[in-house]
Symmetry: none
Subunit: 220 residues, 4 copies
């Protein structure tokens, strides 16, 4: 039953990577629980059941952990969007918007967290390369969206405004929908969040369609 040396090494690497994932998940849990500014490296380590030093074997800095969470999320969102765009091309016109909304509203707490992380990390020098990578992902998504929207405008499905108006409006609504879920005073008493988010998604799917505005866009 002896494992070969290669196997042992592979096993070790697996364990190492598993621990990395564990750090990220612990960090994520804590971030969701206590808020971005309350989480410390010491606490992450304690909760993950490891030493502080171990964290730094996996990540160069605390910011790198946060950045990793952001990047993972951004990649996931971009992938979902990509699938949605594909579905549009297969003849399902609302699919992209729907996919985007569902991707972001599937876990609003996480989405909101990532929004906050972005604010925190925006100009932190030690994660600049990763931030650039993130922006690159977005730019790629934008490029795809632009051509998609342009086609839909030329087909008369969407209002003839600059393409980015459409997807930025969409993004705005999704962004805001997430906030709705958490803001005290407005939403805390409403138990039917699910339905609300569906309603908002419906708006997202139809907004910007030609004819919706009934003349209110003449001044654009």
């Amino acid at each position: 039953m002896a494992l070969s040396s290669t196997d042992k090494i592979r096993q070790k690497k697996q364990k190492f990577l598993a621990r990395e994932q564990q750090i990220i998940e612990t960090a994520l849990d804590l971030l969701l629980l206590s808020g971005v500014e309350k989480v410390t490296v010491a606490e992450i380590a304690r909760r993950a059941g490891i030493g502080k030093g171990t964290v730094y074997k996996h990540f160069e800095s605390k910011n790198q952990i946060l950045m990793r969470i952001m990047l993972d999320y951004e990649r996931c969102t971009a992938e979902n969007l990509r699938k949605g765009i594909e579905a549009v091309e297969s003849g399902n016109p609302g699919a992209a918007v729907k996919a985007y909304f569902e991707s972001r509203l599937a876990n609003p707490a996480l989405d909101r967290l990532v929004q906050q992380l972005e604010i925190k990390l925006e100009y932190e020098a030690d994660v600049a390369p990763q931030m650039e990578e993130l922006l690159e992902i977005r730019r790629s998504s934008i490029a795809k969206l632009n051509s998609l929207v342009e086609r839909q405008i030329s087909r008369g499905v969407l209002e003839d405004v600059p393409p980015h108006f459409h997807y930025l409006a969409c993004w705005a609504l999704a962004q805001g929908a997430v906030d709705v879920c958490f803001n005290r005073g407005f939403s805390e008493d409403f138990g039917d969040k699910e339905k609300l988010l569906k309603f908002i998604t419906s708006i997202g799917v139809t907004m910007g369609n030609r004819g919706q505005f009934r003349g209110s866009l003449t001044d654009l």
Copy 2:
């Protein structure tokens, strides 16, 4: 021309209040300039040209300063909304939504700052009473909106969904519109923010109107 004792006292009070306002404004400037987590009490005092100790004569804690900024803003928004609702009652159906959007999008940077302050202060014990006050303002606005929306639903202007769906969707869009203005990668290359915000406002004004969804709401 010596001032009477009463006058002197009044003058002093005026000066004291003026200084308080100055602290708030300086803090606001710095918050907008550097971000919520970068501003220190020392810097506020320095920029306001007063001593750090003086700041604590006016506010019990740093959080109280931030809270005050939030409250001022919330009151202003609520007041604008109130005027909008009045206008609706004077026969201008879209006025409330328009007023609300314009109020929040007039200074997106400030709006965004306040969103962040709310996250930061959400569960800080030392501003709990003021936070309650803020929530009270919101509840009051909500009550007004609820009856307004109910009337518009019964008149067939708006879709027949729970009233809060309408204003929360509206709030979400406004919230998101603000974020659009600042997020890197999505919006940095677009110079026509003005028009974009008008476009989003247009969506806000028409969204939720009956007939917009063309059957997509059957499952609510």
Copy 3:
């Protein structure tokens, strides 16, 4: 007996400056006692009877404290050298060298400490401006020495080698003399350090004089 407001302010400033001096002196004591790498900011603060934070009201970083000690010492040495050069010009040919040696050997422990500080701080970014200032002081001393030595060479007092040979040799001997005082194994058993340093100073004063080498310099 009431002090005027101005007096009070002045008194406060004095106290503040006195504390700054106290920090430097405490730091110096500790550095001499325990070695450059053993002294911590916490320890300095504790020994000075103040809080850690207070240290950072006076100095931007730990390195700045060390740099200050270096600069103070360098200025003092440069001033002593300047006086020595003046004395040379008043007709006392060995005065400069003697002044230099006496200045540095007056407190060998301090001189040695400063040598070590220089190594530590050499390429630390946060004290680069002050390091430049220190080098400027040295350059100024060098310029004076150069012209002095050139005159003595042309008068036939010193060997005709590049001027900097003379003062660098001098500097080397002083530098080394300091080390002699502290190196275990060589000097620990000798109680007559005073006389030894005088002997070395004598060498310093006469070395490089014309005729000393008796032909051993022909290959230069």
Copy 4:
């Protein structure tokens, strides 16, 4: 052609010793490159192409590595000095001093490094035995020097001062000459370090000779 068991063991020992040497050399390279306080065990291991744990199979602690470098150097210097003293006894009076200077100035960077290591390790408990060994080497050299100098004094070659004055002065000059090579501000602009060191060596060879001081030693 299978190797005998004894041969295999011998081969293994060879390899083990070679690795030890490699660690020392890698450490030395790094120390010269980055400075005593910047080198970590991890970096040494990485550069040597071995694991960190392996380093600790060869040395009990990081300090032991540094100590070893010192001891190697000290032994080398002592050996050179011994040869110089032999040459003196063969009728070459300046040979000892010359050998000593040449030994130390042959690689000033290394000499300087060792000076710094000595400061660092001076009172470190875990290398105390090795430090004692080093001091023993020095004492042995000193004993030889003492008798040599005494003979030269009695022959009228050297000034009649306590013997250790002579070799300590010599040591001081060598020590300082090394520093001259590296100190910024004094030496950075001079390209003719070679000649300078020869000049200083010349001084070393002649200093302390009878008649040099022309009466300036009367007060000793």
